[in-house]
Amino acid sequence: MHSFDYAAPDSVSAAVSLLAANPGARLLAGGTDLIVQMRAHRREPGLVVDAKRIPELSALTFDSGGGLTLGAAVACWRIYGDAQVRAVFPSLVEVASLIGGTAIQGRASIGGNLCNAAPSADATPLLIALGATCRVVGPAGERAIAAEDFCVAPGRNALADGELLVSIHIPAPRPGSGAHYLRFIPRNEMDIAVAGAGVSLTIADGVVTAARVALASVAPTPLLVPEAGQAIAGKPATEETFALAGEAAKAAAKPITDMRGTIEYRRHLCAVLTRRALTAAARQAQGVH
């Protein structure tokens, strides 16, 4: 690895000062992307700023309305280790349980997954589907970025110089709602998604009232597909309806062919994964297990 300096500030403002004074500096959460990239000389920051001693980035809190504020550096194991998160956001627990394996989940954070801006990031489509917003602080103050606007290109996020992601807010699930993320990998564990679909939906009296669908690994960034949600709003919550959303996802996907799969294969997967994820989310919404 190249030589770099290391700092472990204990406040957001100290971290912002360090980032602003050292262009190219990178924040270190779990390091499961950053350290791999530094070792491969794909990123060579002069300063690495450890996020894990900043209380706000390590906090996991529910607000009075039942929404979740997830500190950007909270590791996956803390998400599935939290009884309240398990009860309120089972889909988040599932995603935290499928990133890498146990040892990776001992370090990897959802914030890091988002900030790393990989097209294949597994947590990001679910965050988009859940309507998450990102709280960002920088030298010019604070702003909120919708999860679907956070990634701008492969490996590039919307943060400006000196800015960092403090937390991710996920609104409380509405009554009658469910969410799910499904990916396709050739192995059972420890692999990168060939395609993935994160979905959420709300059902009232057997009818879909709202739905959001976002895809992984089929575009330069994780992709929100508004057409998929629109295609099924107002329709009965059935497999046939969910297949319509699948077709809309397939039409919106812009994949490439690489060693993991062809364009045709990935587009087909989008249809299947979207339909199946919606079916699973609907079961959750209707309390069927």
Partner: protein, 161 residues
């Protein structure tokens, strides 16, 4: 050129100190500065699990941890499993089940399995397989390893009961 940092940490329950550059991994620090060579370097990118250690009660791949991050942390390595000459039940079970051949992956499997049994004394076979999926082995096949973990779990539960 960044300078050396002094790191104070706890390894296998004992205080430990070392000097390292920020770019040195915890794996390098354990092996080259503290002479704890149980954790192995396989892939050096988080995929093989040969470098698995416990850090503050969770398993991590120490090739993806900076040595400087160990400041104030509590680290557990395979060297900390046995009590003097008394092997940990997992170590005994690995020997009895012939759950190793070349042994390179074994410290990772032992540390990962110990963490599982510390958290969950009675895991299902499925649970053991998924928990250990972060550790790769190539000579023994996984069945004997799984059987050894099941045997150790049984024995540890009996001792407790």
């Amino acid at each position: 050129m960044s300078s050396n940092v002094r790191v104070s940490t706890t390894v296998n329950g004992e205080p430990a100190e070392f000097l390292c550059e920020p770019r040195e991994s915890l794996l390098e620090c354990l092996r080259d500065k503290l002479n704890l060579t149980g954790a192995k370097e396989g892939c050096n990118d988080g995929n093989c699990g040969a470098c698995t250690v416990e850090m503050d009660g969770r398993i991590v791949t120490s090739c993806l941890v900076l040595g400087v991050e160990a400041q104030g942390a509590s680290i557990g390595t395979v060297e900390g499993l046995a009590r003097g000459s008394a092997l940990h039940p997992l170590q005994t079970a690995f020997l009895e089940q012939a759950a190793l051949q070349c042994g390179i992956c074994t410290p990772g499997f032992l540390v990962a399995a110990k963490a599982l049994l510390d958290h969950e004394p009675d895991p299902s076979e499925d649970r053991i397989r998924f928990w250990l999926a972060t550790t790769l082995g190539r000579c023994t096949g996984y069945d004997k390893i799984i059987r050894a973990v099941q045997q150790a779990a049984r024995e540890m539960r009996e001792v407790k009961a």
